[in-house]
Symmetry: C2
Subunit: 330 residues, 2 copies
DNA sequence: CTGTTAGCGCATTCAG
DNA sequence: CTGAATGCGCTAACAG
């Protein structure tokens, strides 16, 4: 069913049908009605691709996420989609996978689909390769990075001060009387790099020497990864008094490990995660966490992207401030 | 940059460029090389919409999810996307919202975008309204429902026997010596209706009278909803020995409530959830859960949809079998 | 107020 | 082996 089919049956020209569909003025009432009836009758819906072709506008936004199973990122995509849908944009959410090659592939797909804007979710997109890919494939559409940034004229970024956030966590544990503090990393990423920096700085400013800096890496970014890493920490340093984790998921694994090993949490050992996720409310004791302002970041990203779509303001870099949510694990 | 631009610079016709792009035979080697160089040079990418228009094929699949924040559903979408991406399809994942009106809107969007196949995630799409919408808007593309079914010629469904699954849970608790068993419902949905039925049947077959059937509904489908509902159960029936929850998330809220109220889990009170989600591994004690075969369902859905895209086999109804995963809460 | 024409970017005849 | 012409479904400019 095309506008021509409708036009023929209505005894008018295709352009008239087009005008009716798009509510353009200058059509006699009766004609408009007659066409509308046919449109209704055949449940006609314009082909978005054909329309996009002539309008030079697809009204599509691409949202790239390394792994859509990561709750934190999907939640953000949820907020962004909701905002942009209100404004008539259709968001296509895609999971790219972790390697630069896979990410590149999806960037190409977005180019082919001629999306009008792009959201890159998470710091994992902050690589030189991606920067090049954006330059060659997506240089003419606004790109907003959530918790990331690349210095390109069409790229904006919303960031959260995770480094000083973790720094504050170190001090917070100190104030609770915890001196010996370890850091558990779930995976490598620029974002986690900042967190490590915050940990290092915090420890240093509290007078810790190099040998007091205990950084452990999970074998996998998961509950089990956090559990195992925590076992390692506590075996090597049984006198550990506090552990900061790069994400809640690893931290809740850590809680379990600590309890299994007979530690009193928080009396003997204080645990802190990052993300303010639901995980921290499920575990027992409930997890103290660094709120990295997911919702606020998402809102900011959506509004910056929308401004970009309208051709206004670009190349912004917005910084949000994290804060500690105190619960039972400290 | 269009094929015409490339053609002009290469000194050939657009059709030649098109042939090169699509690896069609019958082009002199040198010509092919020359065009390829230009394609490379300008990072040319064909416009998917324009190509779709002439090919009458968009290579797009729509995946509709009521709420993309629901881990269980997003995970399934993740599997399906991965499968279909391998086969050259681009999946657009969208969150529709819970009401029929919102769902209808997204079904229309899929029609406009001329997707070639649709996945409907979860039993929430099993309504008469949606059935009508599919008939009018999506009658000519294969539709696969994950954990749902509608009797329409182009609709297939992958289902799991949640009713007999819950039935088995009742018997399992009985075998553990738990007689007084309540059921906590997180929200209304056809899927949850089946679970209630399984609970009712199980209780009845164990000789329970009507007054022994304790069904409680959460005020909200969340951790807190499960907590509050559990408090209600235990206040009204302090002698409860087992609670089955419609989802893990509510169950882990329930564990906390039970512990807060001084119950011994599992000694005094056995708790079971449904979904085999990560939540059940985070809480303490770890949650016994009914594995409803998410991954298997997703795989089946992807392969059925793919068959449909190829025009083979349709209107299937596949049934999978759930099984109890025993952990610490029972 | 409405019809005719052209063109969006591409793949595919059909000629040469 | 390659080019010219046509049309996919739609909107917009221009005539009438």
């Amino acid at each position: 069913m095309t506008i021509y089919d409708i036009a023929r049956e209505a005894g008018v020209a295709a352009s008239t049908v087009s005008r009716v569909i798009n509510n353009k003025p200058g059509i006699r009432k009766e004609t408009r009605e007659r066409v509308k009836q046919l449109l209704e009758k055949y449940d006609y819906t314009p082909d978005a691709a054909a329309r996009g072709l002539v309008m030079q506008s697809t009204k599509m936004i691409g949202i790239l996420i390394v792994d859509i199973r990561v709750t934190h990122h999907v939640n953000s995509a949820f907020f962004i989609e909701k905002e942009l849908a209100k404004r008539g944009y259709c968001c296509i959410i895609m999971g790219t996978g972790p390697t630069d090659e896979m990410k590149e592939e999806y960037i190409k797909i977005l180019q082919q689909r001629r999306v009008e804007g792009v959201i890159l979710m998470g710091s994992m997109y902050m690589t030189e390769k991606i920067k090049k890919n954006i330059q060659t494939h997506l240089s003419n559409v606004p790109v907003v990075m959530v918790n990331g940034y690349l210095d390109l004229p069409n790229v904006s970024g919303v960031l959260v001060d995770e480094d000083t956030g973790i720094y504050k966590c170190v001090n917070y544990l100190r104030d609770k009387g915890k001196q010996k503090i370890a850091f558990v990393l779930d995976s490598m990423s620029p974002s986690n790099g900042k967190k490590i920096q915050g940990y290092r700085d915090g420890m240093r400013d509290n007078g810790c020497a190099k040998e007091d800096i205990w950084i452990y890496k999970c074998r996998e970014s998961s509950l089990k990864g956090g559990y195992d890493a925590t076992v390692d920490v506590l075996k090597e340093h049984p006198d550990t008094q506090g552990i900061i984790y790069s994400v809640d998921l690893a931290a809740v694994g850590g809680i379990r490990a600590a309890l299994d090993m007979g530690y009193d949490v928080p009396g003997q050992l204080g645990l802190i995660g990052v993300d303010n996720s639901i995980y921290g409310e499920i575990c027992m004791p409930k997890l103290t966490t660094l709120n990295n302002k997911l919702e606020e970041m998402s809102e900011a990203a959506a509004s910056i992207l929308y401004a970009g779509l309208l051709g206004k303001g670009k190349n912004q870099k917005v910084m949000l401030y994290s804060e500690i949510i105190e619960r039972e694990s400290t």
